[in-house]
Point group: C2
Chain length 328, copies 2
């Protein structure tokens, strides 16, 4: 029997989940739930119902796992605890500082309802968190380094768009190659914010806007840009559409540690992602964790979990014996 997946929210993530379900033979898409008018929403999979989000409760017996595809700022803090009352759920909540609060709220809701919820599933938090935990556990004497990019930061792009005179903007976070090489060499450097990443901004100006003033406003913006080496490129709207519509991203997690009686041996554990489509890769991770949630829930597990709590074998469609014979 297939794992019946529901999708809540049909943006980039929701569309990615739809593709990911197709790529996993043991899953089927049961329904898409939306806060928009369902009749106005055309989805890619023929024959799958599109349902109003506020009618989801009636689908409890027809969905094994609901994948929540809303945003972390305002959607998921409400949606995940609310939907955990009715469904096993998976979300990609990615505001690191608020994970403990989100975990507590979702755990309470899921325990009360007897459901299982996996939060903060994706690549950071998600696979990068796994790399950090495995790396620090096997090399207890060492340091962690996380680099992001090259990829678009939505938050930084939005910050530029709020500058007067800016019509559109795209901001790339770029890891500094020299810093990466220093980390890989095992020297365990102290790196400042400025030494780890640069910020590349592509900006379309409003007619008549002053490029000097806009560039100055961006480069001096506290938190977002002031602590970085930032470059600003002014481009046309056509160039923005042609060259900067992609959603590529990636990054590096490196654990650099030492062993030996005199700490004479250096070890580097490096985990790297290079992604053409950030949302499609993220939804591949969500689908694999939906499988794990389905299995753990059938074993009677309830409450909230993260990627750190889930045995890797639960993510795979293969049996334990098959994994041991072919992948161990």
């Amino acid at each position: 029997m297939s794992i019946r997946i529901g999708i809540l929210g049909y943006g980039n993530l929701g569309r990615g989940v739809e593709l990911a379900v197709r790529a996993n033979e043991d899953m089927e898409l049961a329904a898409v739930f939306t806060r928009r008018d369902p009749s106005a929403l055309k989805i890619a999979t023929p024959g799958v119902p599109v349902v109003r989000a506020d009618e989801a409760e009636a689908w409890q017996d027809r969905i094994d796992v609901m994948i929540l595809c809303g945003g972390s700022a305002t959607d998921l803090p409400k949606q995940t605890p609310a939907f955990a009352k009715w469904f096993n759920v998976v979300d990609s909540f990615d505001t690191h500082a608020h994970i403990p609060d989100h975990f507590a709220a979702v755990d309470a809701a899921a325990r009360a309802a007897g459901t299982l919820a996996a939060i903060s599933v994706g690549w950071d938090p998600g696979l990068f968190s796994l790399a950090r935990v495995y790396g620090s556990a096997v090399l207890p004497e060492g340091r962690d380094y996380t680099f992001w990019g090259r990829g678009v930061s939505q938050g930084h792009s939005d910050a530029i768009r709020r500058v007067p005179g800016v019509r559109d903007a795209r901001q790339y976070t770029v890891p500094v190659e020299a810093a990466l090489e220093r980390v890989r060499s095992g020297e365990n450097p102290d790196l400042t914010t400025r030494q780890k990443h640069t910020r590349e901004c592509y900006v379309v100006l409003e007619d008549g806007a002053d490029p000097v003033a806009v560039e100055q406003a961006i480069k001096t913006m506290p938190d977002y840009f002031a602590d970085y080496d930032t470059t600003v490129h002014f481009i046309s709207e056509a160039e923005m559409k042609e060259k900067h519509a992609g959603l590529a991203h990636g990054g590096f997690v490196i654990r650099s540690g030492r062993t030996g009686a005199a700490k004479e041996h250096a070890h580097i554990v490096e985990f790297r992602l290079k992604l053409d489509s950030n949302p499609e890769f993220t939804t591949g991770v969500l689908a694999a964790y939906a499988r794990a949630v389905y299995r753990l829930a059938r074993e009677g597990r309830t409450g909230c979990v993260t990627v750190l709590d889930i045995p890797p074998a639960y993510l795979s469609a293969k049996s334990g014996a098959d994994l041991r014979a072919s992948m161990l």
Copy 2:
């Protein structure tokens, strides 16, 4: 209370475990067990008893987890099931083809005794297996590539030493950089054995041996060298000791997959190890899994498990809440 670790076998691995226990504040070394004469064995930690291996049973109440540091060829197939009768155990059994049989034997012994055993813990099998399983689960449409090296292969070094006229030998397995770059580019190439790795041999000849005949015998050896581009360097015994005593190793696991309605997006998940000391890094992994075995055993888990069955959080000395706040 500390986790009380026992070590069986005091070679490179056993000495590495001793160092790893020191690096983990929640562990203590309870005893070292040896098949040699205990009075002849001097270990690095003062005050820790050295005990005859055949007297281990009497230590059941004083050891939480026994780490088995024997070899995969002849030691572990006997030792792991035997010691699982008395202890929770961890081993680094690394003969991939025989893992299913070893798992079955250890699982039967551990279930009967009510103990927990983790087998095949290390980096391959071990962390590389994790990389393969996570990578294939999140990118179901794709291919896996594993490259090893640059590092010494003990099996290949031993094979050279059996060639008449060879006094000593060291063989390095070297990944082909061009092949790695093709895999990282996302083209998903079919790679032959010869295209993935080269073999570098350093050989000390017996007096009067014929270098041409020895080189020919090595390069044409079936399975070990015939399918590879092999280079043979003749060196002095002094140079062997000076330059080739190191135990560095490493490698790469790469999952290259595609997503998108037309498979138009390529994704690369790369896990890399660069290790100055293969045995010391391996024992760091063994120590972390000893912690996980200790915790799972206290929860009542019995039988045989592998790295694929163990939730990552169990490896860390930090609590779940601390991990979520600081590492997720």
